[in-house]
């Protein structure tokens, strides 16, 4: 028991707490560099920065104030810096940059720009405006309630963007990209093996590009969305509930169609994954339907298809016609056979 108490006392004495408040002028930016640990930033209504940090005595926290920047960094007394957990309060207008290879980063409530670069760490940002750039390698990235130009990326995990206004560039290799409730002029969403999910509106003059190699793409857009849609897949499937008319059908599964009179430019590409585009409610129409639709363009009496059901009715009619023709041919064949001389009855019946 004595040993445990001694160890606890030793450990407690090794942990130190830094706590300081610095007044800053409007326009000052915060630059935090933390080798490992965590950085949690919140906002408050003071033109001052409150820095608290828990760290070992072997690690120093350095704070440098300049005319336009407040720099916070860590270093080790006898080698690399150790783990430091920061809690920082900043003015709401302050732009923030946080860097650190092994650092989890949380930012909430700021209305300034946010830049986060980490390697092994989770990134979560709520708020921010202007330029927002969040990147990690091993960790997920979450951005909410931001406004501006947003660039979010991970390598080995997913990225998610919610409730934002502005341009979005979201990229990962081995993770999903999900974007919801966004009002964006431009979206670039890319993954290699992950799925791409988008639920939100498309602006009539917007440009939206979703590309994955082996993941699926799911888009949920409001009813009456207008867009020029390009779909490309090598071995995936396509499904939609939208009233579409193919304008171009190329080799493999590459085609274009106009949705709701056109408007936004929307490109959906998945090499081997499935692509689904849903506008409001309605039955999903698959690629086979669309191919048949293309083949049936002769039926100009049905130029405009209001929905998938309408088209399927036409397909059913075609099937009915084919069946009727088959029956008619069979009947003709039977009639021809009846006209030929009858074969002699079997010997048993002869008796």
């Amino acid at each position: 028991m004595m040993l445990i108490a001694a160890a606890a006392f030793t450990l407690a004495s090794m942990v130190t707490h830094t706590d300081t408040i610095l007044t800053v002028r409007p326009g000052t930016v915060l630059d935090v560099s933390n080798y490992g640990g965590s950085v949690a930033v919140t906002s408050w209504n003071r033109n001052a920065v409150h820095i608290e940090a828990d760290h070992s005595r072997r690690t120093n926290v350095q704070i440098e104030t300049g005319p336009n920047a407040l720099q916070v960094s860590t270093n080790g007394r006898y080698g690399p810096a150790g783990v430091v957990d920061f809690q920082i309060s900043v003015p709401v207008w302050m732009s923030i940059t946080v860097r650190g290879p092994f650092t989890d980063v949380q930012v909430e409530g700021t209305k300034g720009g946010v830049t986060v670069e980490t390697v092994r760490g989770e990134v979560s940002v709520i708020g921010g405006s202007g330029l927002i750039s969040l990147s990690t390698v091993q960790g997920s990235v979450s951005l909410q309630k931001a406004n501006g130009r947003m660039k979010v990326s991970s390598i080995n995990e997913g990225v998610s963007v919610e409730d934002v206004v502005g341009d979005i560039d979201a990229q990962t290799v081995n993770g999903d990209v999900s974007i919801s409730r966004a009002v964006a002029d431009a979206i670039e969403a890319v993954s290699v093996s992950g799925d791409l999910i988008y639920a939100g509106s498309l602006k009539r003059d917007g440009q939206y590009h979703f590309q994955t190699h082996s993941g699926d793409i799911q888009l949920l857009v409001p009813d009456r969305t207008g867009a020029y849609v390009g779909v490309s897949t090598f071995s995936g499937e396509f499904g939609t509930n939208c009233p579409v008319q193919l304008t171009q059908l190329k080799r493999h599964k590459q085609f274009q169609f106009t949705l709701g009179g056109g408007g936004a430019q929307l490109e959906l590409e998945s090499f081997s994954g499935d692509i689904q585009l849903q506008a409001g409610k309605g039955t999903l129409m698959n690629l086979e339907d669309l191919k048949d639709l293309k083949d049936l363009q002769d039926f100009k009496g049905l130029k405009e298809f209001k929905n998938a059901k309408e088209f399927r009715n036409l397909k059913e009619f075609e099937k009915m016609k084919a069946l009727r023709k088959f029956q008619s041919d069979a009947k003709h064949k039977q009639d021809d056979q009846e006209e030929t001389p009858e074969t002699p009855p079997p010997p048993d019946e002869e008796k």
Partner: protein
């Protein structure tokens, strides 16, 4: 019913037939019961289709999507402020920019590392696929594009440029490898394998259909992603601070 008139019924319905053909078909319709029946069927379907209501949703994607995006909070309405600057690039522009950046940063990195203290590590190459092992593809067309876009912007853009830049960065990363966190190296390698697999699939598909704009664009995109990842990996801070 003759094939000739079967194929012209919809034109007749549309009023697209010339007067002599129309008269001829009407004569035929008065004599051919099957054609008349087919025409009536077409007309009925067309009329019914015009009055169909949007059917109820039979497959609602939203619950699945909502579950995946974890949308628990209600939608928040933002005042829209149009962006004055668009940072997205077209694929060819992006590819060209990436290549230029890569070559630039690659050259700088090569120079810096050659003159720096980093000791070359004789480890396993970080990428599973040897650069240039597969025949390079020539980009003759862009990715699938929206209407009006020029699909020939990739003309003359050669994948060998990518291969060379990738080889440079792979070599740099191999040299830099021993200074990186082992877990990070493992993750980078895993993801390079994923991209290499995608590149290999795209190359194979392209070999069967070299003129496909989509496949050309897709391969270019995968190569660009690999370049981006390698560039990020070579820029990563060392494990020792």
């Amino acid at each position: 019913m003759t094939d000739r008139w079967t194929d012209r019924l919809s034109e007749y319905l549309d009023g697209d037939l010339a007067a002599p053909e129309r008269a001829e078909l009407e004569t035929h319709l008065s004599l051919c019961e099957e054609c008349a029946e087919a025409l009536e069927g077409l007309r009925t379907v067309a009329e019914r289709a015009q009055h169909l209501e949007t059917p109820a949703l039979t497959e609602d994607l939203w619950p699945g999507i909502e579950a995946r995006i974890g949308a628990a909070s209600p939608a928040r309405i933002f005042r829209f402020r149009p962006s004055t600057f668009r940072f997205t690039l077209s694929l060819p522009q992006a590819a060209a920019a990436a290549l230029a950046l890569t070559l630039l940063s690659g050259g700088a990195m090569w120079w810096a590392m050659r003159s720096g203290p980093l000791a070359p590590a004789k480890g396993v190459p970080i990428a599973a696929q040897a650069p240039g092992a597969t025949p390079p593809a020539t980009f003759t067309a862009g990715a699938a594009t929206a209407p009006g876009a020029d699909v020939n912007q990739f003309a003359g853009f050669d994948a060998t440029h990518y291969d060379a830049a990738i080889a440079d960065l792979e070599r740099m990363l191999t040299e830099h490898r021993s200074q990186l966190d082992t877990s990070t190296v493992r993750v980078v390698e895993q993801n390079l394998v994923i991209i290499d697999h995608a590149i290999e699939q795209a190359r194979r598909a392209l070999a069967a259909d070299p003129a496909s704009p989509y496949l050309n664009g897709h391969l270019a995109q995968q190569l660009k992603l690999k370049l981006d990842l390698l560039r990020r990996a070579t820029d990563l801070p060392g494990a020792h601070g």
